[in-house]
């Protein structure tokens, strides 16, 4: 690195420190800014941040190594990452990746953790986990900006723009257009209007009354786990602490989920109002909105909403003129780590650290951000909470089932005529969603994302509700033209990549499952491998440290049960097959010795039982 760059890097860091402060918990946010500016985090920035924030170099480097969107060495000036969810693949992303690579004169194919970087440093091509554009894919990120609706023509044009070195600001605007695609409005989506009514109600009736309404509504968390919101808020309110925090989990990383993107686009006011109401109930003065890095394009919009609400007296000090009701929200960006959607990992990330999950208990309600009582809720939960406080608990109970009040917003993608956002009352059967979105000849539905459940047609009468099919909203459809093993391969690679590496069952188990799935896909698997998959999956479920590892084998175990033929039709007839190709394992030795005699080869396995021993 030459001296002038070093000065610039240090200058940039110094400026970032002035603007955004020297709280060590802002480390990740500084790193993200440096990454955006320099396409990597140069050594000089590591040094400067380490000194200014009083964190060790190792901590800084550990964070860079952990987050997929941070790099120690530069990628291309145009850093392109194709969204690699199964829904992108179903829309032809693999073909488009090959096309772009060819046009850019790169060779090979990118893999998880392996980007192709052109020698001149102009461009790099890599993969990203689902970027949340499943209803308008295939999609990619270029320098963190989402590009949607890729086709050959668009990829061709992108190659030209890169070759000509046209800066992103001058790329055609329609490339970056993100549609909402709201197809079905229910309780929450039918009315985006917000005039601070929930906050007025909170102030008029008091925090106890607001909490009572939330309690009455039976509202449960929309992030998937379904914990009762009122209980969470009450625990936090009653927990001893110096400060309290409200955190909105907008790290929508579950493959196939994109409803939070739409809610933050068109319903941001209500989400923020929900957070503010929560702050009023629990007595918090600070809140965070943790926005996944893939949605960085929403940042200016969200900042402007926050700014307007401050101007309107709905946020900041003395909210609605109420003395002592002070609450403000900071937006923190993620940097490409699925695990940060887990609430304790998210809090670690908010504190600037690697997103490794915490031991629970203590739960965030008693010991969250800065070890203080913290409410972490999903975007949709805050939105619903704002309406519940505004319109009362019975309003939500007007729809849904006994145990699941209200509605659920689904992100529908895959093989259907109208992918997009659908809001249904809880209790809606799967088949109704399928018919509404124009899905035909459906072979399977993956509900609640890669970590969720695989449904076969026998399950299509089941209902979306916490008591039957709980879901965070992802609803990916596969028709009978699809090979479901492609889905399994995609998810297995995803989990192996996204494991944080902290615990062995998940780190090693995820890699073993991926290898076994690939072995079966290559036609080299045996019955024994299937039983190993079940065994490893069971160990991961039982012994992993957090929910990522507990749910990572679901897709394998579900498909082994419900779609055994996708595995069986590829099996070798032996009971056991080697995990690698034995004869090619001698290739290097053959080349080094120049031998090619019979002893220099290993013949194929003789099927057991076909040879009678003496």
């Amino acid at each position: 690195m030459n001296a002038s760059t070093a000065v610039t890097v240090e200058g940039f860091v110094a400026e970032s420190l002035v603007t955004h402060g020297r709280d060590p918990r802002h480390l990740l946010q500084h790193l993200i800014r440096v990454q955006q500016r320099f396409s990597c985090v140069p050594d000089a920035a590591v040094e400067a941040l380490s000194a200014a924030l009083d964190v060790t170099r190792t901590q800084v480097r550990a964070a860079i190594a952990f987050y997929a969107f941070l790099h120690e060495r530069p990628r291309g000036a145009f850093e392109i990452r194709f969204s690699d969810n199964i829904t992108d693949r179903m829309l032809g992303s693999r073909r488009l990746i090959r096309l772009l690579i060819e046009r850019l004169e790169l060779s090979g194919l990118p893999a998880w953790g392996r980007d192709l970087i052109r020698d001149d440093g102009r461009v790099s091509v890599g993969l990203a986990s689902c970027t949340g554009m499943c209803d308008q894919g295939p999609a990619l990120l270029v320098n963190g900006q989402a590009v949607t609706n890729l086709d050959a023509q668009r990829v061709d044009r992108i190659a030209d723009l890169v070759q000509e070195g046209i800066p992103l600001e001058r790329w055609p605007g329609e490339f970056f257009r993100v549609e909402n695609n709201i197809r079905r409005h229910g309780l929450l989506l039918s009315n985006p209007a917000n005039d601070g009514a929930a906050l007025h109600r909170l102030i008029d009736e008091g925090a106890d009354d607001a909490l009572a309404e939330v309690e009455r509504s039976g509202l449960r968390g929309r992030g998937g786990a379904g914990f009762t919101t009122a209980i969470k808020w009450r625990f936090c309110r009653e927990a001893p602490g110096i400060d309290r925090y409200v955190v909105c989990n907008a790290d929508e990383g579950e493959p196939g989920t994109f409803k939070d993107r739409v809610l933050l686009t068109d319903y941001a006011d209500l989400v923020i109002e929900g957070m503010t109401v929560c702050a009023g109930v629990i007595g918090a003065r600070r809140g965070f909105l943790y926005l996944r890095g893939e949605y960085r394009y929403l940042l200016p919009h969200l900042e402007s909403v926050l700014q307007r609400r401050r101007a309107e007296g709905l946020l900041g000090t003395m909210i609605l003129g109420r003395d002592g009701f002070d609450f403000d929200i900071e937006i923190h960006l993620g940097a490409g780590a699925y695990i940060c959607g887990e609430e304790s990992a998210l809090i670690e990330s908010l504190e600037g650290k690697r997103g490794v999950t915490r031991k629970r208990p203590p739960f965030p309600v008693t010991s969250g951000f800065d070890d203080q009582p913290t409410v972490v809720n999903n975007v949709e939960t805050f939105l619903a909470a704002a309406r519940v406080v505004q319109w009362g608990g019975y309003w939500l109970r007007g729809e849904g089932t006994d145990q699941s009040a209200g509605s659920k917003i689904l992100s529908v993608s895959g093989d259907c005529a109208w992918p997009g956002i659908y809001e249904y009352p809880f209790g809606t059967p799967v088949h109704q969603v399928l018919s509404d979105c124009g899905a035909e000849n459906t072979q399977a539905v993956q509900i609640s994302g890669a970590a969720g459940a695989t449904l076969s047609p026998a399950d299509f009468d089941r209902i979306i509700a916490f008591e039957d099919l709980p879901t965070a909203g992802s609803f990916m459809i596969f028709d009978d033209s699809r090979d479901l093993l492609d889905m399994v391969r995609n998810f297995a690679a995803f989990f192996a990549h996204e494991s944080c590496g902290f615990c062995t069952p998940c780190r090693v188990g995820g890699a073993l499952l991926r290898n076994l799935v690939e072995k079966v896909a290559a036609g080299q698997g045996s019955e024994y491998d299937l039983s190993e998959m079940r065994h490893i999956g069971a160990v991961m479920r039982q012994a992993s440290y957090c929910g990522l590892g507990h749910t990572a084998p679901n897709h394998v175990l579900n498909t082994l049960d419900k779609f055994p033929q996708i595995y069986r039709r590829r099996l070798e007839r032996e009971a056991h097959t080697p995990s690698f190709d034995l004869d090619s394992a001698l290739s290097e030795a053959r080349a080094l010795t120049g031998r090619d005699d019979i002893g220099a080869h290993i013949r194929a396995q003789i099927p057991e039982g076909s040879e009678v021993s003496a």
Binding site: A585, R595, G599, A614
Partner: protein
């Protein structure tokens, strides 16, 4: 008289430490020969393998001959056991997996200190090395694993006696702790 179970053992890419540990059962070897008949094993120096009830494999799979021996054991033994760290995980020999085979062979036979007459051996009698060292379960199906480097004599004894008596195999803590 009921025929005694037949037992065979082999060391693939290992150090014979697991076999030494088996011998560490000391005088219990006399009980063992009452219980079983040894087939192919370095202990008897029998070189050919017949049908056996139990096969014990020490060492990982590092060359073509290891593959052949291991497959033969799998064919002939009703129950096959991976004994010790190398059979279970590849162990110490698998440390070469960090390097290319060419690098390893050049270091050993061409460039290493004190090498005379340098050159990578290519005599057809010498089994070719695999690109990497593998645990045995990656080549054949395994029924049991007995970890340890080596597994202690007592652990081997417990394993053998309980298996031969058809009991579920359970070790006292003192035999499986590693500190």
């Amino acid at each position: 008289m009921v025929e005694k179970p037949r037992v065979a053992t082999a060391s693939l890419c290992g150090c014979f430490g697991c076999h030494m540990s088996l011998l560490d059962i000391d005088e219990r070897i006399l009980q063992l020969v009452d219980l079983v008949t040894f087939d192919r094993t370095p202990l008897t120096d029998i070189k050919t393998l017949g049908d056996c009830d139990l096969g014990l494999i020490e060492g990982g799979v590092a060359n073509a001959e290891n593959v052949e021996v291991l497959r033969e054991f799998r064919r002939c033994c009703k129950t096959l056991v991976a004994v010790g760290a190398c059979a279970v995980n590849g162990g110490i020999p698998a440390m070469r997996n960090q390097f290319g085979l060419a690098e390893c062979l050049r270091e050993s036979y061409c460039e290493g200190i004190g090498v005379h007459n340098p050159g990578i051996p290519n005599d057809p009698e010498i089994p070719l090395l695999l690109n990497q060292v593998h645990p045995i379960h990656e080549v054949v199906a395994i029924d049991y694993v007995l970890p340890g480097c080596p597994p202690s004599a007592d652990a081997i004894w417990t394993f053998l006696t309980e298996l031969l008596e058809g009991r579920p195999i359970a070790f006292p803590y003192t035999q499986i702790h590693f500190d």
